[in-house]
């Protein structure tokens, strides 16, 4: 089994219950592991939530942790995947002084070349939004930082897997039992 530390995306389908986030994050905490990012949202199934958690660890650890997450009563299923096995993205926002848009024409080039969207512009500031891989977002942040950023925020990773997740089938099977 591979003992090399890699980035794993853990996908968890759960019931939507108070306290479950605590229960899941505690599994990482007790192993003294840092969560790189955590996103939770509605999944493709009504009433079922999906967590996407990014952690750097070995595959051996990933297997054990996924089993311990699955053991939680309100976890429907949990999976782990490598970057190659998922389609993933992050998004970010920048708030920048409007004056710069005119004083620094280079900013307009950066926006155009990086495929960044202008969300809003007013007298004081404008807001940019971009989705992409971490290195793209980091490059954009470095480029814009030269001119001064009023606010920057980046979301956690969201990811879908290349292989199928048979959650709906599982839930139908439970109903038909």
């Amino acid at each position: 089994m591979n003992e090399e530390i890699k980035t794993f995306t853990i996908s968890i389908y759960t019931e939507n219950n108070i306290g479950l986030l605590n229960r899941i994050s505690a599994i990482f905490q007790r192993r003294h592991m840092n969560i790189e990012s955590l996103t939770t949202s509605q999944s493709e199934i009504e009433g079922v939530n999906r967590f996407v958690i990014v952690v750097n660890m070995t595959e051996v650890q990933a297997i054990k942790i996924v089993k311990q997450i699955e053991k939680q009563v309100e976890t429907i299923r949990a999976y782990y995947h490598t970057d190659d096995e998922t389609i993933y993205t992050e998004s970010c926002m920048f708030k920048i002084k409007s004056a710069l848009l005119f004083e620094e024409p280079q900013i307009q080039n950066i926006i155009k070349e990086s495929d960044t969207r202008i969300v809003t512009v007013n007298k004081e500031f404008f807001v940019l939004e971009k989705s992409g891989r971490r290195h793209e977002i980091e490059a954009l942040r470095r480029d814009l930082n030269v001119f001064g950023i009023m606010q920057f925020v980046r979301s956690g990773r969201i990811a879908v897997t290349k292989d199928e997740m048979k959650i709906t089938e599982m839930l139908i099977a439970f109903n038909n039992q």
Binding site: G19, I45, E46, G47, K64, K67
Partner: protein, 577 residues
């Protein structure tokens, strides 16, 4: 596509009646067959205690002297009966005092349901009097927990609590109920929970895994079984015995597996682990197939994992998939309920015996007897040993007692030397090692099994951690027998200090009170034994007593428990001295 049924319940609900949330709690407990619960009242749980007063003919509430005692009593009740134990406490300190017992139940897979009162819902999060976030605090040590803020949620949540606590790998559940939900009236009806869509308590046993396991066992020349509490929790004692006997496999047990197969069985080769028997520890690294049944390869069992059973093929019978390959990589994992999987394995096994292999265990036992056991059970020195007290208890109870031990040297001696004829007879804190467990757990065990002799065995340290439960014994008149093996030391820590810290006895020597006077203060018959010639009669008198009885035995101050696998060492490096 309909996927929104989250819970399956019994088809028939009880007829709806308009009652308060607090009455509903009692009615739910009655529906789940609860006859006894352990607890301690306080502000935020008072409406429920008011209902307990009204229902006192139907449900017996035992007032412990501390909430920790309530959880341990509920654990003792559950461990000896296989039923769900119930503990109750108020909010704030009442709830936090439950935590040690809950953590103990979590790591030892004991089914208990704890109900805590909580401040009214409009006060949640405001640092109200006696408010603690007990759901947050208990999350890492419960199998499931939930806060109820509306009376109408009570039946479904309590039904789920009992279902989760006892199904699959059992464990503790905590339900926190706000005071306004206790007062609120609603239309009550009850349906037991029979399934939860996100929860698969018993994984299916695959035929391929059974066949692979059988093939390995059938060709093994030196097979060895190590079973754990999974056999007891799965009620698979008969199935284990049938397999051991048919395939002629020497079988050892973990501390929590003790008593699933009688200690006198010819193929029972003793306890594994840090203070287990010499032969099964040593031969773990000689066997060719290691069959682990309902055990979790705890570090106190395996010692150094890098040198643990590396030569053997490993088969793991396990209900909890997260235990498979957690500590030891298995060759064949047989998932599922132990009773089902072992019963399915039996017809696939060839009838065999392994006399030469069994002889190896006997030869090593002889060495352990000469070097250790002889001195523990038949001492010639002046001071009394813990082992000879156990020997006398065996004689007087004929191996039919339930032994409820605390944590430390006396616990290891009790587990090593107690005779067990009956399953569920070794009630002890295994995974958490909770000093103070023994006395309150014995109260719960005796109440669950009033026809059995229940003997609490503690050291002088752990006994004083929950000594206040003598008050519970006095008030309920529960006839538990209490043995304190007094060496005036925190003996196990002192032993480590002697062996690994150059005898620097930091804070391990105990200046003890007059234990007999304390017991008598609670009107419990009590005796102290200092000399060997008085021991047999004192034990006899204790066992003959129809009421609670306290026996203090003053034992040698600096005796050590051997064999011993030093922490982090290999099972092969087990020491006899």
């Amino acid at each position: 596509m309909n996927t929104d049924t989250k819970i399956k319940s019994e088809k028939m609900a009880t007829k709806a009646e308009r009652i308060s949330g607090s009455e509903a709690i009692i009615r739910c407990l009655l529906e789940e067959g609860v006859e006894i619960l352990y607890g301690y009242p306080g502000g935020a749980i008072m409406p429920v205690y008011d209902e307990l007063y009204k229902y006192k003919d139907k449900i017996h509430h035992v007032l412990t002297r501390h909430e920790q005692g309530a959880t341990h009593a509920a654990q003792g009740y559950a461990r000896i009966s296989g039923k769900v134990g119930v503990a109750m406490a108020t909010s704030g300190p009442g709830a936090t005092n439950l935590i040690t017992g809950i953590a103990d139940a979590q790591i030892d897979s004991t089914p208990i349901v704890c109900i805590t009162g909580q401040v009214s819902s409009h006060l949640l999060g405001s640092d109200a009097f006696q408010e603690t976030d007990i759901v947050g605090i208990s999350t890492p040590v419960t199998k499931w927990n939930h806060q109820v803020t509306k009376a109408s949620e009570i039946p479904e949540v309590i039904a789920k609590a009992f279902y989760i606590a006892k199904s699959g790998r059992p464990g503790p559940v905590l339900i926190d109920i706000t005071k306004d939900a206790q007062f609120e009236e609603f239309d009550f009806s009850y349906k037991k929970c029979i399934g939860i869509r996100s929860y698969n308590p018993v994984p299916k046993t695959s035929q391929e895994s059974l066949e692979a396991a059988a093939a390995l066992i059938n060709q093994a020349k030196k097979p060895m079984i190590v079973w754990g509490q999974g056999v007891i929790l799965g009620k698979a004692e008969a199935e284990l015995k049938a397999i051991v006997e048919k395939a002629g496999i020497p079988a050892a047990w973990t501390i929590l597996g003790a008593s699933a197969l009688p200690t006198s069985h010819p193929l029972n080769i003793g306890m594994v682990g840090m203070h287990g028997n010499y032969a099964p520890n040593k031969l773990t690294n000689e066997c060719d197939v290691l069959i682990a049944i309902g055990m979790r390869f705890d570090d106190r069992v395996t010692g150094d994992l890098k040198t643990y059973a590396k030569q053997a093929k490993i088969i793991h019978f396990e209900i909890d998939p997260s235990e498979v390959d957690k500590n030891v990589k298995t060759d064949v994992a047989v998932l599922g309920d132990s009773k089902v999987s072992l019963a399915s394995l039996l017809p696939l096994l060839n009838a065999k015996s392994h006399p030469e292999w069994l002889q190896e265990f006997k030869d090593l036992y002889a060495i352990e007897f000469e070097k250790v056991i002889k001195y523990d059970l038949h001492p010639t020195k002046e001071g009394l040993t813990m082992g000879e007290v156990l020997k006398e208890i065996n004689i007087q109870t004929k191996g039919n007692a339930a032994i409820v031990s605390d944590v430390g040297q006396h616990q290891m001696i009790a587990c090593r030397y107690a005779d067990f004829n009956i399953t569920k007879s070794n009630i002890t804190s295994g995974g958490l090692g909770t000093m103070g467990f023994g006395l309150p757990a014995a109260i719960g065990a005796k109440m669950a099994a009033p026809d059995r002799e229940v003997i609490s065995i503690s050291g002088d340290g752990g006994y004083q951690m929950t000594i206040q439960e003598l008050g519970t014994i006095f008030q309920t008149k529960v006839p538990v027998k209490i043995v304190v093996l007094n060496n005036e030391f925190l003996g196990m820590v002192r032993q480590w200090q002697q062996l690994f810290f150059d005898k620097r006895y930091a804070s391990t020597e105990m200046m003890n009170p007059n234990f007999v006077a304390i017991a008598k203060g609670y009107h419990i018959a009590a005796k102290r034994v200092e000399k060997r010639e008085d021991l047999a009669n004192a034990v006899k008198e204790m066992i003959a007593s129809k009421e609670a009885y306290f026996l203090e035995v003053c034992v040698e101050k600096e005796d050590n428990v051997f064999p011993m696998i030093p922490s982090g060492a290999s099972v092969s490096d087990i020491r006899l001295s």
